[in-house]
Symmetry: C2
Subunit: 615 residues, 2 copies
């Protein structure tokens, strides 16, 4: 089988599906349902002759697509030699709107790994100490109990002499990791990784100045086994023999690829990196460490470990200096992961007593925190992936071609597309913006029904509300076939409006439960921190209009960008911040929504869109 | 090339010496000079036709040997296919009189690695803690800060469930190394290794009761690069590319071989061993850790490291449980190694204030300590290898065929041979015994001259003092060609007497300097501890007669056997003892003899044998 555009040749067995054939390759398909033939996203195009589609394929694809040879990889069995073209380009060449930066509070630089220029006395009859003791002597009294890694020790004799006893000590937590030439003192770098379920972001950070030298990202290769952690855990359960190691390997390859690129940009070699900090949800962190995450998916949702893990990076398969240390952020529970702890750390919410902070991270699980240094509550609301563009008819993640915002101009809809190309679909912020606009204009009512306004006036907006043939409900035409990238109309469907309704209902119910548990009112909130890409690009008015965030003075809203990686960076640059992340996990009390007696009640209550307009 | 009796076929290059050809094989030659053609011990027998010997070979071998095809491996170049027979049998089948046991003070069992039977609460809605936190809970408050090795963590999910949450925790210094089935609680073993320059001894020790379950030993394979550490360090220097790794590999293979056999005897698998303690001289410990020992051989004799090293056994190449810990005993300097620290630990000398103890370990370097808990001095006297049988014409180590003791019976010499076979040579204790006897009977005078007694009486003893043809001096016939194992006469030569004289002179001078430095008299010594095989088998009266140990009440002499391994065992069984070994290194003050102003003076003074008879 030949796969274009990557031009890869694969030997495959007859009878397996294209999905299975591509599973262990570098080629990534978009499938959200994990190969179950339900999401219709794992499209590929078969160039050579092909038989009729299966019933499922026919249902999920347009006749034009079928004509072009487009099929669902997970429903197409291989019967003979064939050439296919993956519609999705290699994810790396595309323009992502992943948040790669983030705001960071001012911290004192005290990185997890430090370097010091040291002049060691050479051995002499006056100084017959061992090499190690002479290094201790040179480092001064605070390093009296200095330890040495075995790897460093093994080459110390030669290294000390090669540098004429004048070099750079690489120090980690009272342990000498390496002895380098003197000129290496100025090269101090660390890596951080934000391990998202859908996207992995890596950054190369200078430990001397704290700034980000390089940032790269890629789609999480595990995505081919489902877009959410539950389907990946399911995969591990179903492949008890090697499912876990397969997932771990996919992640390692991704991280090593990102690392490779970061090093290229920074003109560094792998051996120069002595420290990595990662923040991710609990499941991704389990995969990173090779831990079985099955417990997280089953009541009572117990992970193998929640506290921070510090381990040699080499032991988990990262290709860096052999003694490089990997710091994995602590998590609180199966659903309150290192990413949320990083978010809290970046927000500084747990540092202050005088301000009540609400934090919102919109992902597949809406993660929420509320509190301050005295008390901090968190919960995780199963918002579904709607805000990430999944389960939305023409939804997509925030990359080139996604409508990220809409506005009214000359009484008609105008949209803004990432990359300024023709639109391919809607990402989360575009979805929220659009539904807010429709609510404002009465085209969606507070119960979430999409219909022409009662007044009977026909204007440009009204005319976009269409009952398509064979349909009982109305949809909203966002872009005509002429306007869109692929020549297919882009509709916001009634179902899409409902999906957003479910997501916002879950999140608003979560916020409400935290507010009640804390014994405060919405009005007592002093600041709202938003994390993640959606939090950064979302229009605060639209978010309030649809009820995704509480109606407060918009001045109170502070988007923090990629807050998980900001937290990881803070931990990398300051041992105090690293320690604080553990303190936060002890401070935090988790409120389990699924078993909370009021959750269902609040969820129903919050399902409706707010009735009142905001502007 | 075919090597008998091992029946090994080797492909070798023309022009290399037999020594070089055998260097990287399992076949061990005895050579003491490290292949320099000086010691005449690397004998092999060439079965196929062979050319005339080199001049060096001819000088070091008897004409009979040359006739039989015996050659020095290090001086014989390979010119064509040949079959050789190594005279030395594979070292393992021989009977060694290596001291494998030792007396141990009573200690409280608190092994470096411990096991505990634990019942962990399964996850439930009432207990949503992580697996790790539930283990902590089950272990109780003292394990609140329990850490987990990454390897253990990676399989913990499955291991806990496979054991139904009821198992055995393997604990090391506050860290969980493994979770095992409940029935494994009773299987607790550790290994100790005494890394001697010539012999390696390994023991399997029960951590439940402290007894030695199995003991094995083998010749140190590094011996083919010289019998003393200096020639091995020289080898490392001359082979800067891979000399160190070659030496390390030889040692690792030896240790892994010993381990394999210990496990076989104990019916254990490698994964059941979680802890190893080694004691050895500083150079052997450097080899073990892969550290360059070059500094030890050059003034100012600075090792890379002296303090104890605790490292994952896997990191240095031992095949045990992946998380097994290797404890390497601390040393004090290049010549006061972990073996001497182990000796001091085993003696308990540093525990008591009220007794002044003298400790003597007779090896290539005579290692000496003097003191008590208040003050402890050590020195290392370059006694040469005479006491180990090397550099003595018919000297040999204490294995089958060695004369280990002599006595007078019916006015003639009677000897006692290890293994009760015909004698092959003299080992250290036989040498000391014999010279003491000759001194007693006036056949050796206090200046070390071997000659017939002045009285002119001719008795059986007298008649053994022979001036051999072509010789200016007298030698002493120990065994006639009829009596000896190989049909060659066994003489104690005048040179042999001188060698012992040098050895005892160096040791006695060392003792004297410690005595003076301490400001005490010989008579103040309350107890003399002897370590090592020689210390155990030596006749105290003979040792005093030749002046090897001070003349004191023989009741004060306590042989401790293999004291280094006893010290290692104590450290294995008791964390307190392990910690004490570090305290000892801090207590100890090393007196450098080579630069001591009085050493040469005392050495000359002590070179003479004592004049007075003892019995
Ligand atoms: S339809 Fe193929 S992956 Fe979802
Ligand atoms: S003579 Fe060959 S090793 Fe010494």
């Amino acid at each position: 089988m030949n796969v274009l555009p990557a031009d890869i040749w694969l030997r495959v067995k007859r009878g397996v599906t294209l999905w299975e054939a591509l599973e262990n390759t570098d080629i990534e398909l978009e499938g959200e349902c994990g190969g179950l033939g339900k999401c219709g996203k794992c499209k590929i195009r078969v160039i050579t002759a092909i038989g009729p589609p299966t019933a499922e394929t026919a249902e999920l694809l347009t006749p034009e697509e079928l004509d072009k040879g487009i099929r669902l990889a997970c429903r197409t069995k291989i019967k003979k030699d064939l050439v296919i073209r993956t519609e999705v380009l290699n994810n790396e060449v595309e323009l992502f709107q992943i948040l790669k930066y983030g705001e960071m509070p001012i911290i004192e630089l005290d990185p997890l790994v430090d370097k010091r220029s040291v002049s060691v006395a050479p051995p002499s009859l006056q100084n017959v100490l061992s090499d190690v003791d002479r290094i201790r002597e040179a480092l001064g009294p605070e390093y009296q109990n200095l330890k040495i890694s075995h790897h460093c020790l093994a080459s110390l004799y030669g290294d000390l002499r090669a540098t004429n006893f004048d070099g750079t000590a690489v120090l980690h937590d009272g342990c000498l990791l390496a002895w380098e030439p003197a000129k290496m003192a100025a090269r101090r770098y660390g890596l951080i990784f934000d391990l998202g379920t859908s996207t992995l972001v890596g950054k190369l950070v200078s430990l001397l100045e704290g700034q980000e030298v390089a940032v790269v990202s890629r789609l999480n290769s595990q995505s081919k086994h489902g877009t959410n952690v539950i389907s990946r855990i399911q995969y591990v359960k179903e492949h008890s023999k090697d499912g876990l190691s397969h997932m771990r390997r996919l992640l390692m390859e991704d991280i090593n690829t990102l690392t490779h690129r970061l090093l290229e940009v920074g003109r560094l070699v792998a051996e120069e990196i002595f420290v990595v900090v990662t923040a991710g949800n609990t499941t991704m962190q389990h995969f990173l460490l090779g831990l079985n995450p099955t417990g997280i998916a089953e009541a009572p949702f117990a992970p193998v470990i929640t506290e921070a893990v510090v381990v040699r990076a080499q032991d988990v398969g990262l290709h860096l200096h052999p003694d490089a240390m990997l710091y994995v952020m602590p998590s609180k529970s199966g659903y309150i992961g290192g990413d949320l702890i990083g978010f809290m750390l970046a927000s500084g919410a747990a540092d202050r007593e005088d301000r009540l902070a609400l934090g919102l991270d919109f992902g597949t699980n809406g993660e929420i925190f509320l509190g301050n240094r005295r008390r901090m509550l968190t919960c995780s609301a199963a918002a579904g992936p709607a805000l990430e563009g999944a389960r939305i008819t023409r939804g997509m993640i925030g990359k080139a071609g996604a409508i990220e915002g809409v506005r009214l101009e000359d009484n008609d809809l105008r949209y803004q597309v990432i990359g300024n190309i023709k639109p391919k679909g809607l990402c989360g912020s575009g979805l929220v913006d659009l539904v807010a606009l429709l609510l404002h204009h009465g085209l969606v009512d507070s119960e979430g029904l999409l219909r022409p306004s009662q007044e009977g006036q026909v204007n440009a907006m009204e005319s976009r509300v269409i009952k398509r043939k064979g349909s009982e409900v109305h949809d909203f035409l966002v872009a005509s076939s002429r306007e869109s990238f692929d020549g297919r109309e882009i509709y916001l469907t009634q179902d899409d409006v409902r999906e957003l309704q479910l997501a916002k209902g879950a999140i608003a119910a979560g916020v409400k439960i935290l507010i009640k548990t804390m014994g405060v009112d919405i009005g007592d909130i002093d600041v709202i921190y938003l994390a993640g890409a959606l939090g950064n690009y979302i229009n605060p008015y639209s978010a309030m209009r649809v009820g995704l965030i509480p109606r407060l003075d918009p001045e109170k809203i502070t988007p923090l960008g990629n807050a998980a990686s900001t937290g990881a960076k803070m931990a990398l640059l300051s041992r105090r911040c690293w320690e604080k992340s553990a303190e936060i996990t002890h401070l935090v009390k988790h409120v389990e929504l699924s078993s909370h007696p009021d959750f269902f009640h609040y969820f129903i209550e919050e399902m409706n869109y707010p009735g009142e307009n905001l502007w």
